[in-house]
Symmetry: D3
Subunit: 194 residues, 6 copies
């Protein structure tokens, strides 16, 4: 596969990129041993690249969030699946396997979270995320009530909302750019924890 | 109306905000003579505030975009209306009236763009934006083809996508926070240009 | 805008109309200081004009109805908005502002009644009207129960039904004829009550 | 079956009705040898009864319409079926069998007009009627074009619209009132023409 | 109507069929006095014919099922109607009339089971069947709970599922082959029981 | 995981099963080195087990079919994904990887076939299968035409239909029984062909 095939849009060469963007990409590469295509693809527009990853970090790395890393990935996988976004389901499915240490969970949630082995709170969280993702116009008071009955507070609801909203943006960018998921993601963390 | 009523979440006092955020808000206030509630509401979480407005500017102020300011607002109004987002329809409806200098156009597009007095290219642009907004999983080759037949190129399509995607995020944040549109927006630019 | 532009169909001259129709139109003009386009547009077919306005009056002016004028307009605005009818949302949005003496309410309901500042009974009334309007096949016993729990009786339910059904008809006539809302409606009663 | 069972609402005794309403009902009874329940049910509200049947006649008996009586009934049966209205499908299914002299056609259209033995023009007419009935917001220029290519003119389109719109109203009234179809309609004209 | 018209696919002559298939068809003909077209149509592919009717019998004739024959037909009629399958609605509507000894019930259920004179348990059974038929992805724990509250046990739920699933298959085969319902089915058992 | 966990229903012990069923299961085990749970789960009802696998074989092993084994699995994966059936997506995703010798293809098709690296004919095949699966009532003449333009003949269309219809049945049985996919399927054939 040549580089062009990872996007319908031009993919810049690393050496042509602004320093801050190239540095961020090289840091990811060092940690992951490959460059996830979302970095190379979005680098086509540096200003949007910077805003995208700032937003990503603000949402995903908020201090004080009570959502676990695995729960955040569950939201991303479930909403990206109904939105039909290959990149996000494959890449964040891999991260869900990594964080949850459950090799089957990502596929189960991508196909149908109602039949996944997660708890009642997590199912309610995903029900809210999916409703917000697909029919935001239908969110109503009882949706907050349901989450609060299960112990989520206002800040938790805002975390769920932020992740759902940001990855809804991400899904649409990945779909229209034809962003391809790296082959590495498909097989990552598929073995049971030893 | 007290300040708390503009959001379900705490609205910070201006003087308690980080300097960069307060400065941005004061600059907007100076220009608009009021503070749009999106600024006060999102300031509840400074990191997300910064990312949100960086993304907004990257998308809406990209140099070289061939979309006119009015066309960008058409996309926002049409997609926010189907997503049921009061804040975005009201605030960007006002901006659409300002930019298009057509006092009826924003309401017409919010209700049904198919019956609005816009041209064929603009209708195709909105058809793409609405499809991407509501059923991103259904975007296919023929959708690009239709836009290209009407003279849109790949970068135009990416602009339409970015606006649709970013305001889809914005819609979901505004809906869940219960963000109220300022009364000023409802009446802005409703008189015909003299 | 010339007269032809208010409809895809021929718009008759007032002096060519049957006396009863012309009289009705002139009476409206005297009261409103302009002729709402629905009168001129539907006059293209006199028999249907007469039946339309007889039905309108039977539904909207029924003695003994406990629905307030503003509540009737809420139903019209909410259902016409999801049906994508510009004429009905704009014209009845104006009437809602007039009757409710709330300059923001019509736009709020047109965009998303779930986030409008109306009471629980009114929200239930609109939920029923919207369900009946969009998926009449799904009306079931529990829908009556919900309304009755909130104090609506059988005749109230029939009033809600009649308004929803009649303006569903009206929406479809306005959409297919391409009926344009008069500019006067867009700005009517937008100022707060003094 | 007692009379009360034909509606969730009170059914007035014939002798208590205003003369014009009783006369209309008796005239129908003389012709049909039974009283279709729509007359008894709607007589609960005389003003709406009068407007309903005036509208019905204006739409269904318009001089100069090029739609055949069977085609008008096809529209009613197809749209009432998707709206889930037992009364209208059963009663107008009977009329369709009478007018079309085809004993199987009404059931075929009620279940799925795409597989009914009707011609291409009639299928296009029903496609338009169903789109207008279910998603009026989606009617666009190409819908008119399709009908015009098949020889329908503007007045034909207005006839199709009027029937669709009026029976959409009728469906909602019949559903909410729980209007029961007379047993006579179920078996009427089921034998092939001799 | 010539034989070819009952299917878009070749309809084999009885004498050319394998013995077991011909014998099954002749046995049906002896009992019913006509050959339901599903037998002739599916005989085009003998292996699928055998599997189809084996499955049919396993589902519909399971010993120990607590569903009555009429209830099984209710499921078939209701789900086939929403799937738009003329053959199944017409043929199994006839069987429903035969088994329920209620000449109006099949049409009532085909059009809208919510308004049919069946009991609460039967409505819940059909609600489950329709949900499973149309949106199988949405089946969740509360759907089982609802049925169990009304006295259905696990084996009943599996019976409802099997019938829904098998006739969903049957609907799709009948639709794509253009299978025509025999005229006999339309009028069968339409007279009230004497 | 204990055996009970693979189904909501009792899972029979192999030694208690009728000989023909046990023999079929042992034959599968010998070939696959594990017993796919669909065999153990459906053995709960022997008559339905036999009919299910007879139908499966009639559809999937029809001599003369021009669909490749990989294409048949594409249909199963794509339709099972929209139906939310974990068992079928996971198990047939594995078979698709085996037959297509493309380790990424199954996930790509499960998430969104429009973005999978398959040819135009295969996309049209899947478009037809998905339409038939989700809205069988909407199949119309132009759907056959599209497939025929791409070289599919009537028997190919019947093959696509049979697979779609049978696995629609299978999806519903797997969903209601809570059938769990064997862990083996998740990792099968994920390495690129050497």
């Amino acid at each position: 596969m040549n580089e062009a095939a990872i996007s319908r849009y031009p993919v810049p060469q690393l050496e042509t990129l602004p320093d801050d963007i190239r540095d961020r990409i090289l840091a990811v590469q060092e940690k992951a041993h490959f460059i996830p295509n979302v970095f190379l693809t979005l680098a086509h527009r540096p200003a949007e690249f910077r805003a995208f990853f700032s937003y990503h970090d603000a949402i995903m790395e908020r201090e004080g969030s009570t959502l676990t890393p695995a729960e955040k990935e569950m939201i991303i996988v479930a909403t990206s699946a109904v939105n039909g976004c290959q990149y996000c389901v494959i890449a964040h499915g891999a991260l869900l396997r990594v964080f949850a240490k459950e090799p089957l969970l990502a596929d189960q949630i991508a196909i149908n979270y109602l039949h996944a082995p997660i708890n009642e709170r997590q199912k309610a969280m995903l029900a809210f995320a999916l409703k917000l993702s697909r029919t935001p116009e239908s969110i109503e008071e009882s949706d907050y009530d349901r989450l609060k009955q299960l112990g989520y507070d206002d800040e938790d609801i805002l975390d769920i909302t932020g992740i759902t909203a940001f990855f809804g943006l991400s899904n649409r960018m990945a779909i229209v750019t034809g962003m391809q998921a790296n082959a590495e993601f498909y097989t990552m963390a598929r073995e049971p924890r030893g």
